[in-house]
């Protein structure tokens, strides 16, 4: 694929803002997405293991882990929408080529996730159908592999035509997986699953430390498992990371940054897992989010460099400022973010006592404000529409 051809594949409409803004949004939203996705895989794996154990603490932890897996899956899918949006704007030649090359898997991605999610709910609501849980885990891992392949195949424009039309004859069935890298896949899914699980369990132990109906012994047990998960995650991330560096890192001439990232993060969380206590859950979360941000930046650097190597400078993506769409986005954010904070506060407070609890007056005021903001958004939405119609009518 020549650089000219690659550049010509960009959408002629261009981006609505400078590509740097889209890159930033892409990385930040990826962090949220991958945290929940890996937390789901990690906690479901732990939950399935716990179901095989007879000890009370394991049984109890199994229920917690499966419930966590359900919620994390839902949030992981929701969070994934945003990076998916932004990648399509500035990396359209890479994304759309990969998605059509593996067309069948692209279309199967959501049914696979949805089915996995449904099975997960069955496991959660029924509790003891372990087989269903394994199917759910298999489906979620398959979904992860599909997404990994789609992201990864885009990095190799020089192979696209051969993948699509081996011997010159187009293969339009889209049934083959192309361009995957097992080291990268394992590091970013299984390595991070251990870390996300560890962080989530620490947060659980921290949150329930004040609940008198939750035995301290159980919380101590959860804390121990969390430490183990962090150590295991650190080891897996380092090992698979080295594999990633050996494969794709070498191919793209970026083995050194991948090795550094794998070893630094692996060691950091292994050592952290030796001594961390649930009191340090929030700072561990902060540390982990920073680490994920680092991984996100590395992924983006890798992609941008691979594209640049093919003559595609992402920061030179043509754009025109589309103020209307930015206004729409910002106005929605202003209305929605306080509401999300309010919902989180209500959940936090209601779980603080066994019988539940009402949020305090400050949170109540935030709730009232949230409703007003949502109503205000609809007023904004309709008024903006009327303004556009009136402007059109006036010529």
């Amino acid at each position: 694929m020549s650089p000219e051809t690659l550049l010509a594949m960009r959408d002629p409409l261009g981006a609505p803002v400078h590509p740097a803004a889209l890159q930033l949004l892409l990385v930040v939203t990826y962090v949220l997405h991958i945290f929940f996705v890996t937390a789901a895989v990690g906690s479901l794996t732990l939950g399935l293991y716990a179901l095989t154990r007879r000890e009370e603490n394991w049984k109890r932890l199994g229920h917690v882990a499966i419930r966590l897996a359900v919620q994390a899956t839902g949030l992981g899918i929701t969070m994934g929408i945003a990076p998916l949006l932004f990648v399509q704007v500035i990396y359209d030649p890479f994304w759309y080529t990969a998605t059509t090359l593996m067309g069948l898997w692209t279309t199967l991605f959501i049914p696979v996730v949805a089915l996995g999610y449904l099975f997960l709910y069955v496991l959660y609501l029924r509790g003891n159908v372990v087989g269903v849980g394994y199917v759910a885990l298999g489906l979620l891992v398959l979904a992860g592999f599909i997404m990994h392949s789609l992201a990864n195949a885009g990095l190799y424009p020089s192979r696209w035509v051969d993948w699509y039309a081996p011997g010159g004859v187009p293969d339009t069935a889209g049934v083959r997986f192309v361009g995957y890298d097992l080291g990268r896949f394992a590091a970013l899914l299984f390595g991070q699953a251990g870390l996300s699980l560890g962080v989530s369990l620490l947060l659980f132990a921290w949150y329930f430390r004040r609940r008198e109906d939750v035995p301290p012994g159980f919380l101590g047990f959860v804390e121990g498992v969390a430490r183990g998960a962090l150590r295991l995650g650190g080891i897996l991330f380092a090992l698979f990371g080295l594999l990633w560096a050996w494969g794709q890192g070498r191919e793209l001439g970026m083995a050194v940054p991948v090795v550094l990232m794998a070893l630094v993060l692996g060691a950091l969380f292994y050592l952290h897992g030796l001594r961390v206590r649930s009191e340090g859950a929030l700072s561990t979360l902060g540390l982990y989010l920073m680490a994920l941000l680092g991984v996100g930046i590395l992924r983006e650097y890798l992609r941008a460099q691979a594209a640049f190597g093919q003559g595609y400078a992402v920061w030179q993506y043509p754009f025109t400022w589309d103020w209307g769409s930015l206004l729409f986005f910002l106005a929605t954010g202003v209305a929605a973010v306080p509401v999300i904070v309010y919902l989180a506060r209500v959940l936090y407070v209601s779980g603080s006592r066994p019988e539940g609890a009402d949020p305090g007056p400050g949170v109540e005021r935030l709730g009232d404000l949230g409703v007003r903001l949502l109503l205000g958004w609809f007023a904004f939405y309709l008024t903006l529409g009327l303004f556009v119609v009136a402007r059109a009518a006036l010529g």
Binding site: T78, T100, L104, I110, T172, V175, T332, I340, P359, F378
Partner: protein, 462 residues
């Protein structure tokens, strides 16, 4: 231009249609159900009817498990299936509306997180706080509808966007307003069916069942008649002339689709009347399930009709289904692509329109005519037609071989002449490519007819 995914067994367009209709059904139910639940819960709170919480809880659990796993996810599923089947079509929408979709993402977070908070805080926070969460859910769910309507309606009527290139002009387009209000009304009809199903899961003598069933009947009837009225008297008159022309063409909208829509409306009307007059019948599960199945058929008809009336374009007046832009749009610096492809040929210009032959030998020289024809037909026709046995399940989708066979056009010269004529149909654009390339297409299509109808190859008659 990207590689082409024809589909596997099922045609790619059929995959999109199935996913899309499933999404519409679930998501419409979800949005209106949040309002219905808020209203019922408010009654429980203000009128001191705690038994109504049993209904709200049962509804919330189903929404949590089904609506949000299937409804919301199949929305993203449409996105994926369209990406695979028509990448440049979705690219147009994404590049125009990325921040509108990103705005919708905020509402998704509230929806998915909110329904979990809503369900898990039953009885754990005061009824007043809980009812506020219900209201938040309803408002955010409606926000998702409010945004997606602008993008959906844009495809059919981009309006002033074609001149100004401004996303706001594309979003608030000529069919935006009627579609917004018609969908908002119609989703209450679907939700009423859902409410009947949930109510039927409660014990027969449960007071919530007795109270919710007639309420669902009323809400359903109002939503249905208001929605149908808005469609007939506001949406249809607001359609672009091109769409109105196609609505009357049986080649585009087969009469069976109108029958499906009528059947769905009639079935829902009957069930809602039963809910008001004979609630016992309306809550026999097969009654609302049957109506829901017919509503699904009606939705399939309605959504397909909506998609079909912008034929042959993905975005009316901008991009046809073959993904080759046919207009200049100076406001966004877009230039039409078909003229250049007609002069210079498609094979040498599009990186994935690959055919065997020596590379670099020019657009049409040194290639196997049949394989070249296949590549070109796949590139230009496979968005809407089955063009190979690969997607011929149950005959395929508007199978080109069947179409030519039916019309007695089975030899390459006749097919070549037909290809030249199709630009005159209101639901087709002219074929793109150099004259030799059109010959190759005709050769491949003649071969395709013989593949599907082997008796022709043996000199048999039609």
């Amino acid at each position: 231009m990207y590689p082409v995914w024809e589909g596997f067994v099922l045609h790619s367009a059929l995959v999109v249609a199935l996913v899309a209709v499933a999404h519409v059904l679930f998501s419409h139910v979800t949005v209106a159900a949040t309002w219905f639940n808020w209203w019922v819960e408010r009654k429980a709170l203000l009128q001191g009817k705690p038994y109504l919480y049993d209904y709200v809880k049962a509804s919330a659990l189903r929404l949590l498990v089904l609506a949000y796993t299937l409804g919301a996810m199949f929305g993203v599923g449409i996105w994926f299936s369209v990406t695979a089947s028509n990448p440049r079509g979705i690219s147009t929408l994404i590049h125009n509306f990325v921040f509108y979709w990103a705005a919708e993402w905020f509402w998704f977070i509230i929806d998915v997180f909110g329904i979990a908070v809503y369900y898990y805080t039953f009885g754990r926070v005061s009824p007043k706080v809980h009812n506020r969460i219900a209201l938040i859910l309803a408002l955010a769910a409606t926000g998702t509808l409010a945004i997606i309507v602008g993008i959906l309606a844009f495809k059919l009527s981009p309006g002033r966007w074609l001149e100004t290139g401004l996303s706001l002009d594309g979003f608030y387009n000529p069919t935006f307003w009627p579609m917004l209000f018609a969908r908002f009304a119609l989703m209450f009809a679907l939700t009423a069916l859902y409410a009947l199903l949930v109510a039927s899961s409660l014990p027969k003598d449960h007071p919530a069942r007795q109270e919710v069933v007639p309420l669902a009947g009323k809400v359903g009837l109002v939503g249905l008649f208001l929605g149908v009225g808005l469609v007939l008297f506001w949406y249809v008159p607001a359609l672009p002339n091109h769409a109105k022309t196609l609505l009357a063409l049986p080649q585009v909208i087969q009469p069976v689709f109108y029958v499906k829509m009528l059947l769905g409306v009639a079935a829902m009307t009957v069930v809602f009347l039963l809910a008001l007059r004979a609630p016992g019948w309306a809550t026999r599960p097969w009654v609302p399930y049957g109506a829901l199945a017919l509503a699904f058929l009606a939705l399939f008809g309605a959504e397909r009709t909506r998609e079909a009336v912008r034929k042959p374009d993905v975005v009316l007046g901008y991009m046809p289904s073959n993904q080759i832009i046919r207009v200049d749009m100076p406001a966004r610096g877009v230039r039409r692509e078909d003229e250049e492809l007609n002069q210079e040929g498609v094979l040498g210009r599009l990186p994935f329109a690959t055919a065997p032959g020596p590379k670099g030998a020019g657009p049409v020289a040194g290639v196997d005519p049949l394989q070249a024809g296949r590549a070109l037909v796949v590139q230009q026709c496979s968005s809407c037609h089955t063009v190979s046995p690969q997607t011929a399940f149950l005959g395929g989708m508007r199978n080109l071989a069947a179409l030519f066979y039916r019309r007695g056009i089975t030899e390459a010269p006749a097919i070549r002449a037909y290809l030249e004529a199709i630009g005159g149909f209101p639901y087709m654009h002219p074929v793109v490519g150099a004259p030799e390339e059109r010959d190759y297409m005709a050769l491949y299509l003649a071969e395709l007819v013989r593949t599907f109808y082997p008796t022709l190859a043996q000199g048999g008659e039609r």
